[in-house]
Amino acid sequence: MKEVGKNFMELRFASKSENEAFARIAVASFVSQLDPTVEELTDIKTVVSEAVTNAVIHGYEEKGDGTIYVRSEIEGKRISITISDQGVGIADVNMARQPLYTSKPDLERSGMGFTIMENFMDEVLIHSKPGHGTTVHMVKHLKSRHQTMAN
């Protein structure tokens, strides 16, 4: 486990589904300087994929002309990731967080996106305003390998 100083990266890209893979791979490669485990890296890739997909499908309703913003900060063993859109926003965030809730069942959504983010990350904050957009802020503390082995 390497201890790294404060570092950050930012990305802005079009709300196209092709960019979902780009976003999760970019964030994963940025945070890999913290030397995470394979499992931790999969968690990061998954939550970025979930939040970016939500911006594409729900925020911008698959119109492809919106901009998605991703910022990741690392310090020590802490990873924070912020993903924003200026799309339609969420009227009821508490309802949206419920496992299996989806506003688009006809699109074969599973309604598990927020549940996965909450399970894979230590903190998940959602700020949203209808008509203005949504920001999801997530934090994960990586485990020290030595600690894991000792346990």
Binding site: E39, T46, E50, L107, E108, R109, I116
Partner: protein
């Protein structure tokens, strides 16, 4: 990173092998390939071989559940096999295994399709 779909037939069983990453972008392609095959008729059951599926998110869960509904409505069975640990973790967390049976490998999944339920 993209998704490759390979389709095989074994009697009335449609076998679909996925390689790569299954996200929202790729899920439409999976849905369409399986629906096209099923529309041709002659299939009762569906086996999804995930041995080479390296990544999946909740969009993958959605497309799998969608096919499960379709196949079971038509009286068939759907089986998953050879799931990797990372994908397994996501499926477990989502409760997918409560409705979908899983098998070690393709052979045992195919065999299980033939067993009367």
């Amino acid at each position: 990173m993209s998704l490759h779909i390979q389709v095989k037939h074994d009697r009335d069983i449609l076998i679909v092998r996925l390689r790569g990453e299954l996200d929202h972008h790729a899920s439409e392609q999976v849905r369409r390939s399986i629906e096209d095959e099923l529309a041709q008729g002659g299939f009762s059951h569906l086996v999804l071989n995930l041995a080479d599926l390296e990544f999946m998110d909740s969009s993958g869960l959605g497309v799998i559940l969608g096919r499960y509904k379709k196949v079971t409505q038509l009286g068939g069975k759907m089986m998953l096999c050879a799931i990797r640990p990372s994908v397994h973790r996501l499926m477990e967390m989502s409760g997918l295994f409560k409705i979908l049976p899983t098998h070690e490998d393709e052979r045992s999944a195919i065999k299980a399709c033939g067993v009367a339920s």
